[in-house]
């Protein structure tokens, strides 16, 4: 059942799906091993337990640096989705499900799902559409805020398009109106600085920046009223019960340190921009392609429509040729309906369905990107040939 895994990643593979998940950083693998060797329970008073406790405390300090908060403002969770659900549902539960939530149509399913759950508890929810550019206009948020708005939840950058949202401006507006702000920084943590964010609550997921899957963290400000999703032994200041995922937490901290250092390095930033430019230059060989968002965008995420081919079919063909890309978010992989993000931006359904996302990580090389562009150009031409379509040039959107 695990033939590929035993052999490790195929050396010929070009992995350009880092927005879905990125390989575990070597430093994180080492930290994971240290965590596995810590055989005590951090809640045990004996020295085996205390050694685990101290390791978690050290990791908490590192993640606090990533999040830009005090050590005791870090709540470790079982992933990014859990952090997001804790932020939204925990805040509204503590408010006895009173008040109003403002969020946007381009949020990740975890935010939209939690918002839906909050609504079933009686919370009023307003979902603001983005501009056709893929960005949420702060004015739309300002209009949506009501006197009873308790929380505004906006993502830092979109996972499908890479569009960077004006979260600082939105935070100012929300704070001025007396509302709290949650930022889903799952896509940006370790890529853009998130420590300076003035949002109250900030969610991150370790596996997106070199940690392991199934570990996340939420920044919770002192004095914030938050009800746990998981009740029990009082771990994580009572916000998240359960024996701590010591190896995963240590790996997350190690990955955070590496990613924060790297992403602060202008050489690394320039390299990512260069990768984007190279990919787009390569794809420009094709007629009629459309880059969904190409300004105020993360260098790492390139979402492109290839009229005349279906995105899932293109992704399959690229896969068979050793290039791993996605059709949008990973969760969407099986679904027939076009991306809710592109749809919200006003992208027509057929163009949305012809979309593939290329995303870079710390291990992505220029060579790989150039090769991927070549294979993509060839594959799109092949698929268009099978279809016999000569796509009309499609205007590139306002992004």
């Amino acid at each position: 059942m695990m033939t590929r895994s035993a052999a490790g990643p195929d050396p010929a593979e070009i992995y350009l799906d880092h927005a879905a998940t990125t390989p575990v950083a070597p430093e994180a693998v080492a930290a994971l091993g240290r965590g596995v060797a810590l055989h005590g329970n951090p809640s045990s008073r004996h020295s085996a337990g205390q050694a685990a406790r101290e390791a978690v405390d050290g990791a908490r300090a590192a993640v606090a640096r990533l999040l830009g908060c005090a050590h005791d403002g870090v709540v470790f969770t079982g992933g990014g989705s859990e952090a997001i659900n804790l932020a939204l549902l925990g805040t509204f539960a503590a408010a006895e499900w009173r008040g109003h939530l403002v969020t946007t149509r381009i949020e990740h399913a975890a935010v939209l799902g939690a918002a839906g759950a909050a609504a079933t508890h009686g919370v009023a929810v307003t979902v603001v559409p983005p501009d056709p550019s893929g960005h949420v206009d702060p004015e739309r948020i300002a209009e949506a805020i009501r006197p009873d708005t308790l929380l505004v939840s906006v993502m830092h950058a979109n996972n499908e398009t890479g569009a960077i949202q004006p979260v600082e401006r939105i935070t100012e507006i929300a704070h001025a109106a007396g509302a709290l702000v949650h930022v889903d920084a799952v896509q940006t943590a370790g890529k853009l600085p998130i420590a300076p964010l003035r949002a109250d609550l900030v969610s991150v997921s370790a596996h997106k920046f070199g940690g392991v899957k199934g570990v996340g963290a939420l920044r919770v400000p002192a004095g914030h009223e938050l009800t746990a999703l998981i009740h029990g032994g009082g771990q994580e200041s009572g916000y998240r019960a359960g024996t701590e995922n010591v190896p995963g937490i240590l790996a997350m901290a190690a990955a955070a340190e590496v990613a924060v250092t790297a992403s602060a390095d202008p050489v690394v930033r320039a390299h990512r921009e260069h990768l984007r430019a190279r990919l787009l230059a390569g794809l420009a060989e094709l007629d009629g392609i459309r880059v969904h968002v190409d300004s105020r965008v993360m260098a790492e995420t390139v979402s492109v429509a290839f009229p005349g081919v279906r995105g899932d079919t293109l992704a399959d063909l690229l896969d068979l040729r050793g290039v791993h890309v996605s059709t949008g978010s990973a969760c969407h992989a099986g679904s027939e309906s076009p991306s809710h993000v592109l749809t919200a931006m006003g992208v027509p359904a057929d163009l949305a369905r012809s979309t593939a996302r290329f995303s870079f990580g710390s291990t992505t090389t220029e060579q790989a990107v150039v090769a991927a562009a070549e294979v993509t150009v060839d594959s799109v031409r092949g698929l268009r040939r099978s279809w016999g379509a000569t796509p009309a040039a499609v205007a590139v959107g306002a992004g």
Partner: protein, 133 residues
């Protein structure tokens, strides 16, 4: 990659007979108009035998593969044999299809039957609506 049989992979990555037969005797199209899987066949028929055939296809990976496969299978066959093709046989010829790919076997059988019917009735399908183009 496990999701596709070797035959499907072969035809998907290396499609045979794509395009249209010039001066085709018959054209057959089946598919979901709102950009679901779509196959157009054009064929030359002589003495009840398919002497040339080409496909155009838009859709999921497996639909492209079976369209290509179909042209290889049908070429040189009598129309009665083509009419006898059914979905189970297409699954078999494709080296197996997973449950979520199975619908393309029906699509392939449908377009093959339609080719035979169109030929007998002397009608032709239009080109499909251009999708995503």
């Amino acid at each position: 990659m496990g999701r596709f049989s070797p035959t499907v992979v072969d035809h998907f990555t290396n499609p045979r007979n794509s395009g249209q037969v010039a001066d085709a005797s018959v054209r057959a199209f089946v598919g979901n108009p709102v950009c679901g899987d779509q196959i157009l066949l054009t064929a030359a028929v002589a003495d009840g035998v398919v002497t040339d055939i080409r496909f155009q296809a838009f859709g999921c990976s497996a639909s492209l593969a079976v369209a290509s496969l179909l042209t290889e299978v049908v070429k040189g066959k009598g129309l009665d044999e083509v009419a006898a093709l059914d979905a189970d046989r297409v699954v078999e010829l494709a080296g197996g299809l997973t449950p979520d790919q199975r619908h393309v076997a029906g699509l392939a059988a449908d377009v093959a039957h339609r080719l035979v019917d169109n030929f007998h009735q002397g009608v032709n399908d239009d080109d499909p609506i251009s999708c995503g183009a």
